[in-house]
């Protein structure tokens, strides 16, 4: 997996925005990670810790990463049943045919960040 590079993308978005708004060191970053988004929360936490340690000028020492997990959900277009998609993502458990569409769980977003105002 490539969580280091994903965290690089996340922090680039945060730092660009912070620089434009004149915000100094980052104290908190909140992200939304969908269950089937291809990103692994634990690896993201580890990547965040590494970036924080390597860039003490950009992060406060206690800077934290908050991950909001988005549950995966699919809905059958025939019977309307919502279910948790496992391996057989499209298979509706009621109709037993592949009539389901993923409705949540693919999100991978930077939700917000907090930083100190630059003096």
């Amino acid at each position: 997996m490539h969580e280091m590079s994903l965290m690089g993308d996340i922090l680039q978005l945060v730092h660009e925005d912070a620089a434009a708004k004149g915000i100094g060191r980052i104290e908190k970053v909140e992200i939304i990670v969908g269950e089937i988004s291809n990103a692994m929360p634990d690896a993201l936490r580890m990547a965040f810790a590494i970036f924080r340690e390597q860039n003490p000028d950009l992060f406060s020492e206690a800077a934290e990463l908050v991950i909001h997990l988005e549950e995966a959900k699919a809905e059958c277009v025939l019977c309307g049943r919502q279910y948790k998609p496992d391996q057989k993502i499209a298979l509706c458990p009621s109709c037993q045919i592949p009539s389901g569409k993923v409705i949540t769980g693919e999100t991978f977003q930077v939700l917000s960040y907090e930083g100190s105002n630059r003096q």
């Binding site: 908190k28 391996q87 499209a90 977003q109």
Partner: protein, 219 residues
């Protein structure tokens, strides 16, 4: 101070993908992103594709690998233009790398562009490169469990080339089961059984490409 962004993590990749997409549309170049685990036969399939279609189409290939020019050299030996991207440890191609490689082509002179992604059944699926179609290659020796084990790849591709069917007599791979598993993940996806070795089934892949090309130029 708290700032709400609600921005997709891959925003920058998606911008580069949109940039590529516009170039492809303007030049009427059909672009296919080929993905598979290492060794499924992407390069061999592309060699056969170049051999068959280069009489009627101007073909180019972008090769993504961790290291070496080997795959690009194999394509060049077939007489098509090829640019190698080395990701140096990166497990997938991103749209920026493709945008940089495009500078080496005159897209107006290219009808079909194939992008061979880094051999990996997980990471490449999440990255839009600006392509028209995502195609997965699965090979018989990998076993039936790969489709259900990697649903995030197969939910995002619209065609699976099941390669190395010349080996079916020696292995316990079940083609019917693979089709069923695929339908349960992605009912829109097609599956074409092929062998790049014996050429079996390849005509169906070539016909699929020609159909996609017609659609692309008519847009």
């Amino acid at each position: 101070m708290k700032v709400t962004l609600r921005t997709d993590v891959l925003t920058n990749n998606n911008k580069a993908a949109d940039f590529n997409r516009e170039l492809f549309q303007n030049s009427k170049t059909l672009v296919i992103n080929l993905m598979s685990s290492p060794g499924a036969g992407k390069t061999t399939l592309l060699e056969e594709t170049v051999r068959e279609l280069s009489g009627n189409y101007r073909i180019a290939v972008i090769e993504g690998d961790l290291a070496t020019e080997r795959d690009a050299d194999r394509i060049r030996a077939m007489g098509a233009k090829a640019v190698q991207i080395n990701t140096h440890g990166g497990c997938h191609l991103d749209a920026r790398m493709v945008a940089a490689a495009l500078a080496e082509f005159d897209l107006d002179e290219i009808d079909l562009l194939f992008i061979e992604n880094v051999g990996n059944l997980v990471c490449p699926s999440g990255y839009d490169l600006g392509q028209h179609h995502k195609v997965a290659v699965l090979s018989v020796p990998e076993g039936n469990d790969k489709i259900p084990k990697y649903p995030q790849m197969f939910m995002r591709t619209e065609l699976v080339l099941l390669n190395k069917i010349d080996l079916l007599p020696y292995l316990d791979f079940n083609v019917g089961e693979a089709k069923k598993d695929l339908t349960e993940i992605n009912p829109q996806s097609m599956l074409i059984p092929v062998s790049a070795r014996t050429q079996e089934g390849l005509y169906e892949w070539f016909a699929w490409i020609e159909g996609a090309y017609l659609k692309c130029v008519q847009q």
